[in-house]
Symmetry: C2
Subunit: 419 residues, 2 copies
């Protein structure tokens, strides 16, 4: 235990040392190190597959199933996706030393607001190994040092990934401790990490409500919370049938185990009779179980009754709660009450409805006539992200390289005094 | 005690209700309410003077003195300054609904990042009553509700100020609970405020280290810390004599009791012999006591020895610590070690030195050839601010209306699906 404490402290100190060196490197050096990572991952592809297979096997033995196993697996598709994202991040413009604002005051004082790194970032995430290269590259891109802590189920996989990236740092003149990963499973290591307020500038936890709350309450380090996604789609009274069905199905089914998948479908009372049978058929075809409010079950008597708990559950599974709402205001109230402020959308042809919805829904992403699955850094053109923040402070929604910076005010005078 | 708890809870709930109404008001309505405040303050000027005189008298009886009394006093100059700032804030562009970023993706998806209010802001500040109208107007400008808690010594003054502003809200269709002030002295009310994580989105404490640390550690509410200012000026080896002396004196003496006043003067070894006698004379003329490091006292044998504690003390008084440093790197290390990350400056004619200093000093404001007293919202053209953040997350340096906003991502598609 004492040794775990010392090891974690050492990681903190090493990260701080790395930050000081990182501040002196050019954007090109950071870029080159990230650009070297895909080749390093390719070189360990076999090793990675083996480690991942052991992780998956062990997770199955421990009772993990369905979507949770799927999130853990590095298929060829996931592997290629990781490589592409690294290449994308390498090519992004340098997030540092941007002039965010600037002007010359009437007295000749030149004032500039310049982006700088945040410092040391701790990222605690669930068992999706693709987060490992995403988070490491985005943090490094912004000149930050990162301490990674993935889900224990994916530890072997994550260590192989991290070591490959660290070798890319070493060969490109970047301090190796710019990327560190906690190499032991269990809560104890996280508990030690939470104590490093002296060394870590911000913690980014991703995952379930319980985990994030435990972290936010157990540390003095500022936290950017990445809560789960209880995402809604509201089909307004004028929602076109085909688009309404296609967006509902895509939002729910394109990938069920992710945070921007649809969990609660809100159908306007005026479109219920018209849309519900078509929706039922489409979801049947996709193997999705519907759970409905009482009014929904008048139209679809065969489906299960949704209970109170369903409205605030992130299923990450082929289950969808369906509720009839009496107009846009009820839809908005429902979303602001049961949603998690992650991603919510409307399907409508009315500009007035779209505007009212966009203004009134208090969520990180508000979509009009688009699949909830399009909410994210990739589809917003940000390259990779470390996650999707449900906080309002500092970063909200997808957290990309620019969001992992702070700034300083730089002021140039010529002997300027205060009068 | 129980009743204090209930009263504070009620303030939280009222603030949340106000936020929901504020979200529906136009920028013009918020602007009109702020523009009506100066007249309201003028109407209570006599009442205000009386309340302030009682506060000052009581503070003197309780042993407050010098600069701390000066901070508390509303002179005619301070009063006019408050009026001017309110007028300035009213005229600033609306911080809400700005398109912070926006683009159309190759697939036709339109992505916009739009500024929105943070929600409810709690501001805990020291006994400078001019913070009351500054903070209230800046928060309201950004569509936030605010709960104010000024220093107990200035309670009577603050209540008169707040009530005048609240009457401006009421007469201009803005919810009166958009601005609330805690009307009882003592720590208990602050303790209750810290528990309102359900209602308050962010806390902004201003003041001494002890107070801020106690607040940050005693709450689950995110905190933007406004630590004290241990400000430095580094006179490089090529610093021109006249400018070096003028900037040092102005940084220290223009107003000693504020956070951007100079506390530690760093003199390069190569300019010490040339500058120190001139500095001594100038500070003598301004009644400032110098405390020097051992090397400084070789040149100025008459002055006190600075002890370790002096280097990290915010005097807010006519006392200045002077240290000789051997080159720019030592100056930077000293500042990054003893400074509070608030405001630090260099005096030099060398572009290379200016650049190195600006890049290496990790502070919210870094000045070249300008008085530290110019670090702030007014001189940066931000209108009024709620304070000067020494944090790196969300807002750093002067915190103006734009900094008290979050954003949402608004996405427009036409049936866009994720492939």
């Amino acid at each position: 235990m004492n040794s775990l404490k010392e090891k974690t402290l050492l990681m903190g100190r090493q990260a701080q040392s790395a930050v000081r060196v990182l501040a002196t490197l050019s954007g090109e050096m950071r870029q080159n190190a990230i650009a070297a990572m895909p080749a390093k991952l390719l070189a360990v592809k076999n090793e990675l597959s083996k480690a991942n297979a052991v992780d998956v096997e062990e997770a199955r033995t421990n009772g993990l199933e369905g979507p949770k196993i799927k999130r853990l697996q590095i298929t060829d598709k996931v592997f290629d996706y990781m490589l592409n994202r690294l290449e994308e991040v390498a090519q992004l413009p340098d997030p540092l030393n941007r002039v965010l604002e600037g002007h010359t005051r009437p007295n000749g004082l030149r004032v500039e607001k310049i982006s700088v790194p945040l410092g040391v970032i701790g990222i605690i995430y669930e068992s999706r190994p693709n987060v490992t290269p995403d988070a490491a590259s985005v943090c490094l891109k912004s000149g930050n040092a990162v301490i990674l802590r993935g889900g224990s189920e994916s530890l072997r996989t994550n260590v192989v990934l991290a070591d490959a990236m660290i070798s890319a740092l070493q060969e490109n003149g970047v301090p190796q401790h710019a990327v560190q990963i906690i190499r032991v499973p269990g809560h104890e290591a996280v508990d030690e990490l939470l104590k490093l307020d002296q060394y870590i500038n911000v913690l980014i936890p991703r995952g379930g409500k319980g985990l994030i709350r435990r972290i936010a309450e157990g540390t003095r380090i500022p936290v950017i919370k990445h809560y789960e996604g209880i995402c809604h789609l509201y089909l307004a009274e004028d929602a076109p049938d085909e688009m309404a069905v296609a967006l509902s199905v895509n939002s729910k089914c394109q990938r069920v185990e992710v945070c921007n998948a649809l969990e609660n479908l809100l159908v306007d009372l005026k479109s219920a009779e018209r849309l519900l049978p078509k929706l039922k058929q489409a979801f049947d075809n996709n193997g999705v179980e519907l759970r409905g409010c009482e009014r929904t079950r008048l139209y679809l008597p065969g489906i299960e009754q949704a209970v109170e708990e369903d409205w605030s559950t992130e299923y990450l599974a082929p289950i969808l709660s369906v509720k009839i709402v009496d107009g846009l205001n009820e839809a908005v109230d429902f979303i602001n009450t049961y949603g998690s402020g992650h991603t919510d959308g409307i399907v409508t042809r009315s500009l007035e409805r779209a505007n009212r919805f966009v203004n009134a829904v208090d969520s990180a992403s508000v979509l009009v006539n688009a699949s909830t699955r399009l909410s994210g850094g990739g589809d917003y053109g940000m390259g990779a992200v470390v996650g999707i923040s449900t906080d309002k402070l500092h970063a909200r929604g997808p957290v990309g390289p620019n969001d992992l910076t702070s700034y300083k005010w730089v002021v140039y005078g010529d002997g300027h005094l205060r009068q």
